[in-house]
Symmetry: D3
């Protein structure tokens, strides 16, 4: 990815990146021998393992509806972070941050899946952070989509569907304002000192599945928002291309994916 012009700040990023430059991003597809889909995402020092599991039943509120569901769960290994964190189970409950993140991931990936087509089935997407250096929720969505696409392939075959039960390609990226500069894809140090932080979940048409902006240390203006959304969009091109490449699409699938843009 080429450097874009600096968008305001003059300070260089600690890792030498240009403001609109993503960290090195790679996806290892199929790392898990059991799951219906799996993808390990490495993004700078952030590592997230994602798996998709298909279960032949739905939550109570959907029984008899004929439609399916997608649930995401998000966790961190105790030493994913600089200081060791106690396991959630030691306290007997999931922590609030994880709870908020897994709801975001779930909604985002649900928007990519054709819930009617899969019938009364649940796709569980598990995102487990092996190492955290910022962007774990966006990495989860990126990897989660790859798993989901593989699980969709399995469902198409198993249920003899006419087409993949997907309705969009979905990815995510963070942007933020750090000491006056708009930056794409914040690492942990940048995130910690960001004034504004925005997680953008998009489809290939540049539409939003989710948009979550936070004035961590104050407020952000309409023009801050504009700038952040532009930057996010730029980053999404790289991400979408990588997802497609990793999925190794058949000609038929290429067409479907082309329709997502």
């Amino acid at each position: 990815m080429a450097n874009s012009a600096c968008s305001g700040g003059i300070e260089a990023r600690a890792d030498g990146r240009a403001p609109s430059e993503l960290r090195a991003l790679s996806i290892e597809r199929g790392f898990n021998v059991y799951a219906e889909g799996s993808a390990s995402v490495r993004w700078g020092n952030t590592i997230v393992h994602c798996t998709a599991s298909v279960e032949d039943r739905v939550p109570v509120f959907l029984r008899g509806s004929g439609g399916g569901w997608l649930t995401a769960e998000y966790g961190m290994l105790p030493r994913a972070t600089n200081d060791r964190m106690p396991r959630d189970v030691s306290k007997g409950r999931i922590n609030g941050r994880s709870s908020e993140i897994q709801r975001l991931i779930g909604r985002s990936l649900r928007s990519a899946l054709d819930l009617r087509a899969i019938g009364e089935r649940t796709v569980w997407v598990d995102c487990d952070v092996i190492q955290a250096d910022g962007g774990t929720r966006t990495a989860s969505i990126i990897g989660g989509f790859v798993c989901l696409a593989d699980a969709s392939r399995g469902l198409k075959k198993k249920l003899s569907l006419a087409k993949l039960p997907l309705q969009a390609q979905v990815g995510a990226v963070s942007v933020g304002k750090v000491r006056g500069a708009m930056l794409l894809d914040l690492n942990y140090e940048e995130d910690k000192s960001a004034d504004v932080d925005c997680n953008v979940v998009m489809n290939g048409k540049g539409e939003f599945a989710e948009l979550q902006g936070t004035g961590e240390k104050g407020f952000f203006s309409r023009s801050d928002l504009e700038e952040m959304l532009l930057l996010a969009r730029e980053g999404m091109q790289v991400i979408f291309a990588l997802q497609r490449e990793m999925l190794d699409l058949s000609r038929e699938e290429e067409e479907i994916f082309d329709g997502f843009f």
Copy 2:
């Protein structure tokens, strides 16, 4: 509040409101005799009780920092909703939705409070939904700000501060796209059938503390976002005015609040 022109849809709202019209909104300040601040917000059929409590200590990660903290908690009475819901405590844990909402409220109100000025103290803002008909998280932020302002008055006095430890006036409103029409302040029925749903937390300058948009049943475009933010801004004028009115500001306080716009 005057009707604005209809922003797209032609269908009337079930309760007869114009697209940019808020439901009847009122705030009862000081309903609780013990709390450092309290406000009961009634917004259509939604009723939320908010209290602010000041505690003379901070979470572990802030000890020795000299600064304070604000934590929000959000809960619902079992029959706040159409069907009775089991209490969180019956399951031994807070549900994911509440967890996500209380984090939003906490971040929003934290942005209004001058955490340095109050020293090592925690303000607890409790938002308990007595009756839910959409907009409970925005009502919580609106009422939470009123509580917080009263708690700030108390702290100013108790700590002999030169000025109120507030740095912004903060309020919130929801907007959404329902069957093609952009609508302000969704009630539960509208929210349920919304394609897009956006919660906007703003300060008086039209800047964002938080922005959370969700494509509940698909995706939303940049122009959807524009439209929603315009509508939200319109609604915020009414909300800010009501908060100020209810707070019954002294001349000195008026000046501070004027500075927030």
Copy 3:
């Protein structure tokens, strides 16, 4: 309510009441738009919201029995008290005091309901303390009965019953011995310094549904008990009258209620 003669002590009550005088008591019926019955009780500074919810199934131990059940749950908002209390859910379990109180409320209201008549249904009575200044369990029973009566009206209609599925009017009041004086309806300060504390749940015939006396700071004699029960009975007249008034009985219902005395 007229002052009765002072029953032993010579000290005046802090709020100026006579020993056998209730605090101002009012009931707002139907405050909740969803519940099958609802009543908000204000008793001095004590405020309790009660709702009745009807569910079309019974606990496991009653399945197939043909009869119904009534369960009460009791909770407090975090700032119902002078100092903020952590939510039960934060600790993962209901506290012992709440557990004890909700069992008392449940047994008391169960004695008023004709469990056979309603078939395999459960009435949930939720009592949530908005503000606590003594007497929250008795207020819960008073308001709970009003909810229950409204829920009974609904069940009579829905199930085409010949009569209201009620078998008694039930109310409750506390009495205690404070610095040698027998007092009716203790507020928090009185309760805290009481030597003896007694909660009396009665029907209109002066019979007991529940009687719980505690020698908080020692013991109480048979004659203490006599005195307390007399005082309680006096208070119950006022309470029963208010419940009937608030229920706005039809002529037919009047007859049924008359039979309860």
Copy 4:
């Protein structure tokens, strides 16, 4: 113990007892080699193990007060009952019935202990039901008092107190109305079919520490109450005598205990 005249019913008790006859009651003192006091109570088929443990600190709310505390805990072995019950820990929480009972035991025994005399110490009384056939809470109080007396002896010695830190002898018994007959000391079958059930906790002077009457299947009148209290008093004589006998009082202690009557 002599039979008293039958108090209303004509039906014989299934186990052949007279209405005012206790089941065979025995106490094994000192069954536990570690505890500061221990007593195993066998009452008909009911078996409860009680221990008293002294801890050199008090709950937070008493720190710095100079006074002590007593806490009771009550549990049942899984097969204490006819059908095996899951352990509380399997559900992650104490059940409501146990919670209510242990609060009753705690208040009752607290009234017997001189909390000022023992300084900032806590006496834990654990009551574990080995086998349940009615009367487990009263057996717990009876045995708990014996433990407590032994723990008091230890504290007197350890703290060089002038006298035993006890201020009363305390015991308990149940009474109930079963098919029209007033019966003392209900076993499980009687308890299940009782219309009224009353647990009476008394000191040697016939004063009440606790009185809990419940109209299980209806209501009870003032005269029912009179009858039950008389019957309870009769039973308490036997119980107090057994406790004293088991404690094997020294001459000096005899005097103190005599003062309790």
Copy 5:
């Protein structure tokens, strides 16, 4: 039991036992009136109550299999130990040690039961430590087998089985190396200072159901292991004989048990 020659150490045991001498061991069979089998084991100062309960269903993973299951649960009364321990339920979860022990007991007793013969039923074996002085897990297995044998008798009758649904007699004992000496049946003090600790679960043929050796303070060699297994075998003779004696076998049962050796 005869003393064996001292196996290495020269130090006498604090309680005067020879190295290969068991503490006084006795079993009270049938102490519980409800359970399908019950046995209270007293082993020196260790006391464990065991009950077997039969339930007419199996865990989910066995439904439809036609076979049965056996589950063991292990708990301690709070004052079973020298210092009072908080109840598991106070922390909301079973502690790790109990969890490990109950899995050992469950596997051991499962090996004695003919799971096919009993059909889709579960035998619950509850082992509750009344007093702990070392060897609680082995005492649980010893007593658990006696309960199980009695429950098997009941199942044989109830299901009209041709023979007892048992396939082995099972018992257990601990051995350890304490200050250089190999000792049989460690009490708490010995266990605490043991360098090596081994729990051996055997059948009558000297085969192992379970073998768990731990180098508490270092490691143990092959010859240490040999020595420990010899010692364990010696102890098992006494234990098996006591179990048989307590079970009071019929002639027919004698034959079956003879086949276990």
Copy 6:
């Protein structure tokens, strides 16, 4: 590793291994950028991530003792197994199997660490199963030792110790009897159909830290045990060599490790 002679069975292993052949085993050291030590173990299809974290305090029972502690925690990602398993935190508690395993890992690694030398510090070893195909507990111990060695290097430096605070090299392997054949290093399918299963934790001198044998489907004899221990010893040579190789020992460290054999 060369095939050893077949030790009894004649059936070939499904993956073509000889009875005494380990699956392909590799260790990636230092996969985690934050931890004081980290090792990812891949053993056939089993993958376990291990990290060591050093904390500057000890559990309550060691405060003031001057010595340190080591605690292990063991968890599985939800899709580590063929069917997705719910997270422990969803049920609010760690499952019994994990609890048993982490205690085994903890004791095993504690025997390798010089707890006195490290002062009042705790080493946390986290073992998280990414993919499970048998042998996860032995893989955890193998990888855990590598982490621990790296953490020891850090502590030696940080505390200026004269030598590495290690007192042994520790590894582990499973052996079992499957359809009559003794096999080394069981995979999941073999483990499931094993009659006997034994986990052996050894030091370089062939001494045991832990030995856990289970007759999953019956019992095992002394000669079975002999055979298993021989097989385990054979496998341990390969494992110890790999650990040493991966640790890339300095000359000075080589000497210390040589002393472990």
